[in-house]
Amino acid sequence: MKAALDTRAVVRAGVILVVVALAVTLYSTFIGGAGSDSSRAISAAGATTSTITTTAINEAPNTPLIQAGVNTDVATATAPGPAPATSENNRLAQNIVNGITFGLLLALASVGLSLIYGTTGLSNFAHGEQVSFGAVLTYFLATSDKVSLPLIPLKFTIGLPLIVAAIAAVLISGGTGWLQNKFLWSPLRRKHVGVVQQMIVSIGLSLALVNLLQWWMGGGKLRLSTSIDTRHHWGPIDISNQTIISMVISIACLLGVSWFLLYTRLGRATRAVSDNPSLAAASGIKVDSIVRLVWILATSLAAVGGILLALYEQATSFDAGARVLLLMFAAVTLGGLGQPFGALVGSLVIGVVVEVSTLWLPPDLKFATALGILIVVLLFRPQGILGRSERVG
């Protein structure tokens, strides 16, 4: 069995982080003016924005916070002197924060995808639906509107508190993972159905599930939380309470999964199966129970990701997961297929790239950028950032 983490892989990830950091610094120094200048500009603009915000609030005490936010935007945009550069810097910092948030949420989903790939060899196209399922189920349990189940002509309200609903949804999602493995994937593996065949089965499952979700909840946007969110302004960064909570929860989950994979017996066994299933079986690891565990873990994580994504995007819908499925694949491929930590790094890279690209490209192309990166990565480094260089093909 391998050491906890391949040292070369860690070095490689470090190198990439340094390169990204360098690129960002270079960008801010060259495009955003000289370093000292820009920092002064930031503080100056920060001062102006805060004064203007306060005046705005003073002038109209009942103005909601959102409008004050609009005012600050206008203020920075119209402020004379170094303001354009500052707003560019502000937007860069803001987008990087957004990107890290999005990347963390993406990581929750893609770590599971990667674990499933690693242990069973299956590229699970239905994983996006697990993400939407978590979010939609939370809506179902938490909303105060009337809801119903497919084919049952009864309308009722459940209206659990959001946190309880979220926990229940995560548990039920984990249950669907267990069910799927027991009644679909495990029999297929026993029948020695090929991996490619299983992949097409997962595509059929994805098609069935996405339409089931649409049938269940309709095609509209579903809002998990209707409360108005408090926003904080920290220097150039504008961040909402919900986003902070999402980040904390996702970091906690990811740390938990990392700890599980690195330091528990089961986690080590999981990595062993991921490395080489036959060898793991030969050394006395129960491959089947590990795979079952991985399915439960992956679907639960996907549900957590879906719920947090719904809070981050302020709404969910039946195709919320389907829209990010390819970004998950991009992240997993970028990090190296079957490497959970690679999926983590890949998700962060994809998240930051997707958000930062909106500085130069129109926002409706941000997903296309990520897919472009996926193709370029496959050209030059098909095994991904953390993947071992082996012949794939």
């Binding site: 069935a208 049938w215 694949f329």
Partner: protein, 343 residues
């Protein structure tokens, strides 16, 4: 809805232009998957690219009063140039896709083709190219269908043949039916000839055992590339024919469309000449029948009319799963010629 009406609707689907367009796309996929074993999950991207190529070219020529580089074009020439552009785009897209992926394992090709097809869709529906592609609303039919419809030998009014009434030459018309099924017949003939040619035998060899073919001195990469490009071109033609009956709409060529093509190919039988055609006809007819029967027999408070579409498409997904698990060779296929294997 009554049974007779439902049967007529179902019968119309048997020969509708949409059925032909999907049969054509599935024949293209059959070159990829049935003959060569390539997992192309982006056939809808080829279709979309084809229809953009045709529609934009024809629209530009029309807007310049039928002139291209100062030469006045006849309607036939305009249509021909439109098809040519569609084909060239599909060839380039195939080359671009194949270059990084054909040396990799099968599932990489699947992920990259699906990503590339989605990229085409994202670019097409982006507001930044609104002048060219019409953004998310796409290109309206009347902007590009004119030259094709003016070639129609059929009368310019509704024509009834047997129980079926369609327009003679506009949009989903008898003219389009004749043209699309002729193209399908040609493509099926091409598939039949090529799959029995030495070239086709090499492709089948690649499907069965790539390394064995390589050891015989064949350039496997080149053969795979040729299959990818040829199938993609046929898919693009299917896209153009589809747009004649509808309009250029990027969002109807998303991932689900590719999955439908896969479902109907596997339903009819991969690696067979008539599999894609039978599959497409069955797929669309069954969809109409399921929706009709569900609307008739399931009370609306159980299944509202708006839920019929997701309900029937859910059944498509289930069909795909069941087919792959229990009868991967489909209706006409041969289990020994099964292209789904690990590589």
């Amino acid at each position: 809805m009554d049974f007779a009406g439902l049967l007529t609707d179902a019968g119309r689907e048997l020969f509708a232009p949409t059925t032909a367009a999907f049969a054509l796309a599935a024949i293209g996929l059959n070159f990829h998957f049935g003959l060569t074993g390539l997992l192309n999950m982006g056939q809808a991207g080829f279709m979309l690219l084809g229809m953009y190529g045709y529609a934009i070219t024809v629209r530009e020529i029309e807007q310049h009063d039928g002139q291209l580089f100062g030469i006045t074009m006849a309607a036939g020439a305009t249509v021909a140039i439109g098809f040519l552009v569609a084909i060239v785009l599909a060839v380039l897209f195939g080359l671009l896709l194949g270059w990084p992926t054909l040396k990799l394992r099968g599932d990489y090709l699947a992920i990259v083709t699906i990503a590339a097809a989605e990229m085409v869709r994202f670019l097409g529906r982006s507001q930044s190219f609104k002048d060219l592609t019409g953004g998310s609303t796409g290109i309206r039919g009347k902007d590009f269908k004119g030259p094709f419809e003016s070639l129609s030998p059929f009368p310019d009014r509704q024509v009834t043949i047997g129980p079926f009434t369609m327009h003679g030459s506009v949009s989903t018309s008898w003219w389009l039916v004749v043209v699309s099924w002729s193209v399908v017949a040609l493509a099926a003939l091409l598939f039949w000839r090529l799959s029995r040619s030495p070239w086709g035998r090499v492709l089948k060899g690649v499907r069965e055992d790539e390394d064995a073919v390589r050891s015989l001195g064949k350039n496997v990469y080149g053969y795979k590339m040729q299959a990818l490009v040829l199938g993609g071109v046929i898919g693009a033609l299917g896209g153009v024919l589809w747009s004649f009956g509808n309009a250029v709409a990027p969002d109807s060529m998303g991932r689900p469309t590719t999955f439908w093509i896969w479902t109907l190919l596997l339903l009819g039988g991969a690696a067979t000449v008539f599999g894609p055609i039978l599959g497409s006809a069955l797929f669309w007819t069954a969809l109409v029948i399921v929706k009709g029967l569900a609307a008739m027999f399931i009370p609306t408070d159980w299944l509202a009319p708006t839920q019929l579409e997701p309900f029937s498409l859910m059944l498509v997904g289930v069909t795909l799963m069941l087919l792959v698990i229990f009868r991967p060779q489909g209706i006409l296929g041969d289990r020994r010629e099964l292209a789904i294997n690990d590589r």
